[in-house]
C-alpha cells in the first residue's frame, strides 16, 4: 500500500533536481480549452496526452496549461500554441492522433501544422 512516507524520498529526489531545472517562464505555452464546451468535446484526454508526450520526450521549455472558453465552441477541443516572438496558433477539433505532429513539427521544429489550424476549417 502507498504510504505518505514514500513522499519523503520523492521530495529528496525532486529537491536534488530542482536547482538543475531551468525556469521555463519564457518558453512555449500550450493552452487547452477546458470550459464546459471543451470538456464535453473531449479536452481531458487531449490535455493528458500533451503533458505525457512532452514529459516522455524530455522537452523542457514547454508549459501545458488550461484556458477558458474562447468563443468557438463548435471547434472544440481547441488548443492554442504560443511560441515566444511568433503569432499564436489555434488548433481546432483536436484529436489525440494530431498531437504527435504538433509536437514534432511545431513545438520542436517551429513549423505550425497549418492543416489542423482554424484557418483550414473556416472558408
Amino acid at each position: 500500500m502507498k504510504s505518505l512516507a514514500e513522499l519523503k524520498a520523492i521530495k529528496e529526489k525532486a529537491q536534488a533536481q530542482m536547482t538543475a531545472r531551468e525556469n521555463n517562464d519564457d518558453g512555449i505555452r500550450v493552452l487547452v480549452g477546458m470550459a464546459t464546451c471543451g470538456i464535453a468535446a473531449g479536452a481531458r484526454p487531449i490535455l493528458n496526452k500533451f503533458v505525457d508526450e512532452i514529459a516522455k520526450r524530455n522537452i523542457h521549455n514547454v508549459k501545458v496549461t488550461q484556458t477558458g472558453c474562447i468563443g468557438i465552441c463548435q471547434y472544440e477541443p481547441v488548443v492554442e500554441v504560443v511560441v515566444p516572438g511568433q503569432e499564436k496558433v489555434t488548433y481546432v477539433k483536436m484529436t489525440e492522433d494530431k498531437i504527435d505532429r504538433i509536437i514534432t513539427e511545431h513545438i520542436v521544429n517551429g513549423k505550425p501544422v497549418t492543416e489542423f489550424t482554424i484557418g483550414s476549417y473556416k472558408d
Binding site: K2, A5, I10, A14, M34, T36, I39, A40, R44, N48
Partner: protein, 180 residues
C-alpha cells in the same frame, strides 16, 4: 457530458474561477441503498441566493447581459435524468456547496467514468490549490488530502511528475481496497 467525472471536472472549474483555495470532492456510492452522491465544496467567493437561483435555472432569469452558463444545468440534468437532484448552498465570502444525487441502478444514470483521472488532472493543473477527495463504497471509504501531501513535500510542488504518479497509484490502490 459522457461521464459524471467530466461534469465534476467542469464544476470544479467554477470553484477555481471563484478563487477557492480548498476544494473538496466526494464520490459516495451507497450501492446497498441504490443511491449515488457526488458533492463539490469550495471556499471560493460564493454567490447570493439570487445568483444561485439564476445559475440553477438560467432560462427563468430575466438577465440578458451575461451569456448563459451550461455547466450547472448539465450537471443538474444528469442527476434528474436518473431520478436524483442537484442542490446548491452558497454564501458570499464563504464558499459554495454543490450536492447531487442519482439513482444508482437507474438505466439513465451516466457512468461515473474516470474520477481518478479528474482528480489527478485537477491537482496537476492547479498545484497551488488544495484538494480533498473522498471515495466511499457502502461503509468503506478513503480520503486523499493534498494538505497532508504538502506536509511531507515541503517546497516540492504537487505537479512534480513523481508526485502525480504517486497520487495516481494511491487512488488506484485505495479503490481496489474499497471493492474487496
Amino acid at each position: 457530458m459522457r461521464e459524471l467525472s467530466l461534469n465534476v471536472l467542469d464544476i470544479v472549474q467554477n470553484s477555481i474561477s471563484a478563487k477557492a483555495t480548498v476544494i473538496e470532492i466526494e464520490l459516495l456510492e451507497h450501492i446497498e441503498k441504490d443511491l449515488l452522491e457526488i458533492n463539490i465544496f469550495d471556499n471560493g467567493k460564493g454567490m447570493t441566493e439570487e445568483q444561485v437561483k439564476s445559475v440553477i435555472d438560467p432560462f427563468f432569469t430575466t438577465r440578458t447581459t451575461r451569456k448563459v452558463g451550461l455547466g450547472i444545468p448539465l450537471f443538474k440534468m444528469a442527476a434528474e435524468m436518473s431520478g436524483g437532484w442537484l442542490d446548491i448552498k452558497s454564501e458570499v465570502g464563504k464558499g459554495t456547496r454543490v450536492y447531487t444525487s442519482y439513482g444508482y441502478s437507474n438505466v439513465d444514470r451516466m457512468p461515473v467514468g474516470d474520477m481518478n483521472g479528474t482528480v489527478s488532472m485537477l491537482i496537476r493543473m492547479n498545484p497551488d490549490i488544495d484538494f480533498v477527495y473522498t471515495h466511499s463504497i457502502n461503509e468503506k471509504s478513503y480520503v486523499l488530502d493534498t494538505r497532508e501531501l504538502r506536509e511531507q513535500l515541503d517546497d516540492v510542488p504537487l505537479d512534480t511528475p513523481d508526485v502525480i504518479e504517486w497520487i495516481e497509484e494511491y487512488l488506484k490502490e485505495n479503490d481496489a481496497e474499497l471493492t474487496t
